[in-house]
Amino acid sequence: MSSEKPAIAITGICGNLGQVLAKLLHKREERIVGIDRRLFPGKPKDLEFHQVDIRKRKAEEIFRKGDIGALIHMGIMHDPRMTAEEHHHFNVLGTAKALEYCARYGVEKLVVLSSANVYGPHPANPNFLTEDAPLMASARFGDIRDLVEVDILAQSFLWKHPEVETVILRPVHIVGPTIQNAPSRYLRLRRPWTLMGFDPMVQLIHVEDACRAMIEALRPGLRGVFNVVGPGEVSLSTIFKELGTNPVPVPHPIARPLLDRLFRLRVSNFPPGELDHIQFQGTVDGSRFVKETGFRPKYDLRETIWAALR
């Protein structure tokens, strides 16, 4: 075993995003160690996989003997139907454990998948938030404070453990045919709501481009916090025009209480906090990552818009 090159561990590999990443890395003939508490149905034979909760003692054992050179930590769940407590336990404690193993077992590279959502959409935002902007997402949308905390945990790890090359990626809305996050589900709706009179600029990134960015982040020498932007900015209405969707404009003063009710009745799977994303600006500046890695998205704006559907 020791003659092989060190493995890349991936937490949350069974998610739809994780599977795309695993496929891309597998094609590059990297040695992958997958960690997830879920099942991995279409697992390639030569891929090492452990069905274990990252918080459990068994997970530590993987790091202890695994010769792991890098960890891509994306075992972070976003399920609007789970309670805030469950989210906190799994996301924050899980991340804390993953970071602890990296420091303890000499993992040289750590890539944490955070999100550009940690800044939070806000009317007074500058059009292009840079990495040093405060993380305000939970000010208006309390249920996602665990995601902010994951990012902050990773940031303090970055400073406390200079021996681990840590990269925190904050990609914009990831869209893809298999992706089940809020933006992808929203774009797939036949009659999506929009907020009447509001049409913010939004940024999307193709799932494969997001995965390519994570692979890019593995390069030796790269450290720090980076926004990751896809092919650029486009207004929400333009996206729907391109997709041929007829959205239903709802006046914003009634949209929030109405969606709140619908969410509680389980008619809608969008928590009302998501409305900020279709009302206000939350776009980010991705130039730092581009400058340091030369990253260019493979999919153009039109292809990325369609990616949620095809």
Partner: protein, 293 residues
């Protein structure tokens, strides 16, 4: 039941029709010259015709319809010294008056129709503008940007022309008795100019004060309505009077120094700009022959 039983009036269609009407008006007034100038505008647009800040030439042209009518027919704007505006990044700093910010719109029309090369001026809007439905969208498509320092620096570094009113609403909503007396200037614009080494072009707008002479400003009512001001003007409704506008562009001013200097040091530079504009206003008032006719 995947078809909605009742087809809601498609706002997009209404908006689209309105936009085309206004565009036709713009081309009727602006003619071939406008087409030519729009072609030479340098914009960083994507395949959908939008720039990263959300500006869309389609909307700019639509906005230009009514504004060009105001410019040519209503306010009969005269422009002096626009050839002094440098081609790259610059901060256009102007006096502000008239209750409605039409002075800004007229400067923007002048820059598009008469500056060489034609410029699409970006102005900085208040931070609460993005909370307004329709207005927020329209402003963004027309190239207006939320007035954060980050946005301003980014635009200047893209070699754009930014319009600022350092008097803010203090200038816009002053009463008629204080006409053409510049209010206190904010310092933000000077720090931005120093940070980006952008020249400042002083501008004096003559005529905007008389479009809406405010006899009083009902401050308590303004506070109650959470509005910046409630001016009582002869027309009561927000309809401006047809005063003649003249816009004076001054010699670009270059400042040196660190952008994070103390307020006291900054104030000196700011006063230099303010007194330049004040004296341009004075000259403009002396040259003026008629207010309305």
């Amino acid at each position: 039941m995947d078809q909605a039983p009742l087809r809601l009036p498609a706002l997009g269609e209404i908006g689209g029709a309105l936009r085309r009407q206004f565009q036709e008006l713009a081309f009727r007034l602006g003619g071939e010259r406008l087409r030519e100038r729009l072609r030479t505008l340098r914009l960083h647009t994507n395949e959908f015709g939008q720039d990263p800040f959300g500006m869309d030439l389609d909307y700019v042209t639509a906005a230009l319809g009514p504004l060009l009518w105001l410019y040519q027919e209503y306010f009969r704007v005269q422009v002096r010294g626009i050839e002094k505006v440098p081609p790259g990044r610059c901060l256009l700093v102007s006096n502000h008056s008239g209750q409605l910010p039409l002075d800004g719109a007229m400067i923007a029309v002048a820059m598009l129709m008469h500056a060489e090369p034609p410029r699409a001026v970006r102005s900085m809007v208040e931070r609460w503008v993005p909370t307004l439905p329709f207005v927020s969208t329209f402003f963004s498509r027309a190239g207006q940007v939320v007035g954060t320092p980050e946005n301003c620096i980014r635009l200047l570094e893209n070699e754009e022309a930014i319009l600022v009113f350092p008097e803010g609403t203090r200038g816009l909503n002053k009463v008629f008795a204080r006409r053409y007396q510049l209010a206190e200037f904010g310092q933000g614009f000077m720090r931005l100019a120093l940070a980006t080494r952008a020249p400042i072009v002083p501008i004096a707008v003559i005529g905007a004060e008389e479009q809406a002479p405010a006899l009083v400003n009902l401050r308590p009512l303004a506070r109650l309505l959470r509005m910046p001001a409630v001016p009582i003007t002869p027309t009561i409704l927000p309809i401006p009077l047809p005063s003649r506008y003249t816009i004076y562009f001054g010699e670009p001013m270059h400042f040196e120094g660190r952008p994070n200097e103390e307020d006291r040091v900054m104030e000196k530079k700011v006063q230099e700009v303010r007194s330049t504009i004040q004296s341009m206003v004075k000259v403009g008032l002396e040259e003026r022959k008629s207010i309305y006719f």
